[in-house]
Amino acid sequence: MPLGCGGNKHMSATILERVTKVTCEELGVTESEVKPESRFIDDLGADSLDVVELVMALEEEFGIDIPDDDVNSLSTVGDTVTYIEKKS
């Protein structure tokens, strides 16, 4: 699973868990539905407003800023974990 990008494996699992938890809360899905390859819109039923809310919740969870220009590249859970690893 290409989550690590050379980073600390334990950290990666933690970030994935945290992204999964936030995704479940914001999109009303269960943990078993959220996989690294899950697409927020096509697989997890998010609409454009859900995505804005999800991004805000992730910013809060990880204490980072996610500029609008970056949001389009975060289409899956795995993309998002990788992005957050790079930012943190």
Partner: protein
């Protein structure tokens, strides 16, 4: 498509309610007749700094029972109430899951204020974190028309979809407006009513500042005392009531149970003051007279008046005067009760809740009381059905609703059957 041949008569075939004295019609009605008090200390927020620390909150309601988890967490409480009351009303009406009928069925659920809790919370986020911290759901779930919008999506009702806002007469105006829509055939049926969830920091602060609410914090059970000499303001409350209005012929054809017929809708403006009623009750008199004229009945036919009766000094005095002016000596023979003595004042929901009470009173032959009548006010000298429900056969019942802005609305409902 509009109804090409409306019967011109509009009946109520279903109802749902979320109130401080019960969610669901049966529980609500039983508590009304028992004179149950719905007022207590505020639990929804910390009010230790507020001059008023009591309210009538809905206690037996969980948004998750009516919405999926994600939506239950997001929507403002006024929307959740509307969804629940609408579902109850459609179930009560045994409303068919028919595509064409749902094309011809609209939604008109008003709210006096809309999503004030969400507005208040998101304003804090703006101040704390800047514009980037404001939720994308603020606007859609704050706007008062979203009760109608949301219910239409949930129930797939694709007829006329709109909202009226007239402060504390909103619920009555919503029913009156929906009545006209069905009567003229722009819809075969309308899901209509009022919803409100104003118990939050900014709502409580605003009404405290307007000096409209009681400060009888030590005695919540006796705080809402409409027409009583020692009344000192209204008790803020939350809730919703929704009705299914239907063209009479359509209802008859599908064998629906009819709760009541709507026969009169009167409305007027005081043109006097932003919050105080006209001291002579002129606007209220004209609203009641218009409703009587539209219903085609004499004042003596009205068997029960559900008063606006807020428990403020001004409203109860001027409403009493207005009823006497509109009804003449007959006024003394008609039972007039204020169910706000039990429910508190649900603002934009009140007119819908109270129209529903009129219909249930006709069906059950019982007038719910005005509780907390201890010492009479010489200026309030009608028969307020003090402290205990009464058996009365009623053919026509009237509900008054008045709102900040000088709105006066009167609805008249009738026992189903011949005219």
């Amino acid at each position: 498509m509009p109804n090409p041949q409306p019967s011109g008569r509009v009946v109520v075939t279903g109802a749902g309610a979320v109130t401080p004295i019960g969610t669901g019609i049966d529980k609500f009605w039983a508590n009304l007749c028992a004179g149950t008090n719905g007022v207590g200390p505020v639990s929804l927020l910390d009010v230790s700094d507020f001059p008023t620390r009591i309210a009538a909150e809905v206690k037996d309601f969980q948004p998750e029972d009516w919405l999926d988890k994600k939506e239950a967490r997001r929507v403002d409480r006024f929307i959740a109430f509307a969804v629940a009351a609408s579902r109850m009303a459609l179930n009560d009406a045994c409303f068919p899951d028919d595509h064409e009928l749902r094309d011809d069925t609209g939604v008109l659920i008003g709210s006096g204020i809309g999503g004030l809790t969400l507005m208040s919370d998101q304003t804090k986020k703006l101040h704390e974190g800047g514009p980037g911290k404001v939720s994308p759901f603020l606007v859609p779930y704050m706007i008062p028309d979203m009760a109608s919008g949301y219910v239409s999506i949930q129930e797939r009702l694709r007829g006329p979809n709109t909202c009226v806002v007239s402060a504390c007469s909103t619920g009555a105006d919503a029913i009156g407006t929906a009545y006209h829509i069905v009567k003229r055939g722009d819809a075969t049926a309308m899901v209509c009513g009022g919803t409100e969830a104003p118990i939050n920091e900014i709502g409580m602060s605003g009404f405290c500042a307007a000096r409209a609410m009681t400060t009888n914090n030590d005695n919540p059970a006796h705080a809402s005392r409409p027409f009583d000499l020692h009344r000192d303001g209204f008790v803020i409350a939350e809730g919703a009531a929704v009705l299914v209005l239907e063209d009479m012929e359509h209802a008859t054809r599908r064998g629906a149970n009819v709760l009541a017929e709507i026969v009169g809708y009167g409305m007027s403006g005081d043109a006097h003051h932003i919050t105080a009623p006209d001291p002579e009750g002129d606007g209220a008199v004209r609203s009641m007279k218009m409703a009587l004229m539209r219903a085609g009945v004499e004042p003596g036919s009205i068997g029960y008046i559900n008063a606006h009766g807020t428990s403020t000094q001004l409203n109860d005095k001027t409403e009493t005067l207005a009823i006497k002016r509109a009804f003449g000596d007959t006024a003394y023979k008609i039972p007039v009760s204020s169910t706000k003595s039990m429910i508190g004042h649900t603002l934009g929901a009140a007119g819908a809740i109270e129209a529903l009470i009129c219909m249930l009173s006709i069906r059950e032959g019982i007038v719910p009381p005005t509780i907390n009548q201890f010492e009479s006010d010489p200026e309030c000298d009608l028969d307020y059905v003090p402290n205990a429900a009464r058996k009365v056969k009623i053919d026509y019942a009237m509900s008054n609703s008045f709102g900040f802005g000088g709105h006066n609305v009167t609805l008249i409902v009738k026992r189903p059957g011949q005219r």
